[in-house]
């Protein structure tokens, strides 16, 4: 990725005018290569050079934004084959499909209520994909309008009939929906719609080769915000195509540098979600499926959240005193670290114990109990300090604190430093409900 200083130098005017603020073009080229300068600082650079430099600096996969207003989603702009090499950035857009022959208003209203909260995070189904199953332009437009009246989330307009698409865009273009899709048969009209309305466009070929060919043509015609649909509707081939698109994009093979989408085709709702998991695990930037049951979407969106976390960064919750349920001065007090995984597992179990309680999340920079203990961040002293800082002593009328069983050894130091009594809890959070039954 990127050009070397020498490669950039060859594209500069080589006049050493110094107007960019750097004495020589060579020095300016080096600064550009290190991202310490911007090309705008050179008043004399040619348009041709600018284009070449921009192209080299562009991300290998174009960032395509869907939607307008409050609710937008970015796709693409990825740099890795494996999340462990760095991370994945823009979460897969999950689009729920509805036919224009169904009661779209009712479906859209139900869709708009889909908000899931778990472990302190909020998950949304991102997009409603309206399918022109009727084949009728008027019905399609009416369905899109009905959906617009019920949800502000992203719309995906699914029709290969350019006239139907034009009708729907008359109503919905301002929402920047994804036009789905341009094919060889409707190509010119769809590209015209995308460019004139400024909407992102999916291109679908008979196979990966035709798809990329169409993408290059569309980009040449001015439609830059593209999404690739390789046309495969067989899971194994779709996984292969998604992988090829990602690999080629990162190698900057022409025509591949766009986010890719997959369409789920299984019959059963549960089968659809499992199929979607396979695409999500293999680079899909957008997945369209029909399953819309909360019990099925929550796991899918949880997988998305897990897959797109930054592997190098422990996920931390805000340290401090947390209340679980309607606490009173008699409520038990637990302590654990502010590593989110640990914290939320403990919180879940405390909640399951049905006993309102306080949890003191000690700041360990988001590392787990045993690691925090080993690193000197989860010790008698740090817990005692957190007890003082959070004003816990004014909140409860007792002086008992439950510590994780894995660090029973800190009890003495904690008691000395805080004057509290350490109750050694279970080693695993799953033992908390039993511990509560036996102790509180």
């Amino acid at each position: 990725m990127g050009l070397t200083g020498l490669q950039i130098f060859k594209l500069l005017p080589k006049t050493n005018c110094g107007e960019c603020g750097v004495p020589t073009c060579m020095a300016f080229a080096m600064a550009l290569a290190n991202a310490k300068a911007s090309l705008d600082q050179c008043p004399y650079v040619s348009d041709e050079a600018k284009e070449q430099l921009d192209a080299a600096a562009a991300p290998p996969i174009r960032k395509v934004t869907l939607g307008a207003g409050e609710f937008t989603r970015a796709m693409g702009d990825e740099t890795e084959l494996f999340r462990h090499d760095k991370r994945f950035f823009n979460e897969t857009v999950v689009a729920v499909m509805v036919d224009d022959t169904e009661d779209v208003a009712a479906k859209a209203e139900a869709f708009d209520k889909k908000v899931y909260e778990r472990v302190g995070l909020t998950f949304y189904t991102d997009a409603l994909a309206i399918v022109n199953a009727s084949g009728d332009a008027g019905k399609f437009k009416a369905a899109v309008e009905a959906a617009m009246g019920k949800t502000d989330r992203i719309l995906v307009l699914c029709s290969e009939d350019a006239d139907a698409m034009a009708a729907a865009l008359d109503a919905a273009a301002d929402r920047k929906p994804l036009i789905c899709s341009a094919t060889a048969a409707n190509f010119d009209k769809m590209v015209e719609l995308a460019t004139s309305k400024g909407c992102p466009l999916a291109v679908k070929g008979a196979d990966i080769a035709e798809t990329v060919e169409l993408a290059q043509k569309a980009a040449a015609a001015g439609a830059k915000d593209l999404v690739l649909d390789s046309g495969s509707r067989q899971p194994s081939q779709t996984v292969a195509d998604l992988t090829q698109i990602r690999r080629n994009a990162l190698k900057r093979t022409k025509g591949f540098g766009f986010p890719a989408m997959a369409v789920v085709t299984s019959e059963g709702d549960m089968d659809q979600v499992v199929e979607a998991v396979s695409y999500m695990s293999n680079y899909a930037a957008l997945i369209a499926l029909r399953a819309d049951d909360d019990a099925l979407l929550l796991p899918l969106l949880s997988w998305r959240q897990n897959l797109y976390t930054d592997p190098q960064k422990p996920i931390a919750v805000e340290p401090g005193l947390k209340e679980v349920g309607d606490v009173t001065p008699d409520s038990p007090v637990y302590t654990t670290t502010n590593f989110s995984l640990t914290y939320y597992i403990v919180e879940g179990e405390v909640e399951a114990s049905k006993k309102p309680s306080y949890i003191l999340a000690v700041d360990t920079d988001g590392i787990s109990v045993l690691t925090g203990f080993a690193a000197g961040k989860f010790t008698g002293e740090t817990i005692a300090a957190a007890i003082k800082e959070t004003g816990l002593e004014d909140k409860v009328n007792h002086r008992n604190i439950v510590i994780p069983g894995g660090v029973a050894v800190i009890s003495g130091k904690l008691e000395d430093a805080s004057g509290w009594k350490a109750l050694v809890g279970p080693r695993e959070a799953s033992g908390i409900p039993k511990f509560v039954r036996e102790n509180f």
């Binding site: 472990v119 035709e210 990329v212 194994s236 396979s278 293999n282 019990a295 929550l298 899918l300 897990n306």
Partner: protein, 324 residues
Amino acid sequence: MAFTPLKEKYRNKIAEVTLGATADQGGTRTSTVTIGGEQALPFLHFEGELPNKPVVALEVWDIAPPEWNKCFDQYYGDVYNDPAAWAKKCVEEYGAEVICLRLKGADPDFGDKSPEDCVAALKAVLGAVGVPLIVLGCGKFEKDNAIFPAIAEAGEGENLLLGVAEQENYKTLTAAALGYKHAIIAQSPIDINIAKQLNILIGEMNFDTSRIVMDPTIAALGYGIEYGYSIMQRARFGALTGDKAMANPMIGNVGFEAWRAKEANASQDDFPNWGEQEARGIMWEATTAASLISAGLAIAVLRHPKTVELIKKNIADLMVPSSY
């Protein structure tokens, strides 16, 4: 436009491990299962040979599990106290390709069953089904070291998959598996270096390392699954590009982990936005399994019959050759 796919060049392949033995092979199984042998990343058929598909196992306990979700009662309630009938139901009605017998009853906190009792459970299950068996201990080192020599001997000729060997406790199990020619599960605590090291240690006992199935330890969806997922991806890519010490098929206790998650068990009354509990639990398990299978899991040990159906379809769909 002609399209030439980008292919990685690999120098190594994953060990092929066969579980079970038929009468001809000295056992009593009516079928065997072979996993591993991959010469490409999971399901990238265009890249290299993927001779064996991942398989699904169902978990059977030697005691009635005290804490399984109530939703399992309708499937296993009548057989919880009879491991043989339980295993038979898993194979004949629910389509398990392998049975994973967990000797939880040997746990001092769960009945402290004797090695003889464990052998009796093993024999009952071997007699009831024809598929290959995985046998897991109770997880307490001392007790497992007492039961595995007896289990290995009683299962002689059956080519069982015994587990688990851990870095702190692998010698007894390895010796038992070595003596009676069983395969072995090497479990590491979400740590790729320990995974590698343990395979080497087991090999140093003259155990054929191509008979090891790695358990890199997985967590459930939402509870750190991404750590195991990435370790599996790293191990697989490392193995294919030349690291023989990690070139083994992988197993995951998917059902065990997924059904511990709050999301699999919480009632809809408590979490109205989360949908119906059993369907959610099934999908929690299936999503855990499908994502790990994408990372190279070869044996998914499951619990719910519906998950078996879902995952078998997922695997069948992904095993269809892709081409360019």
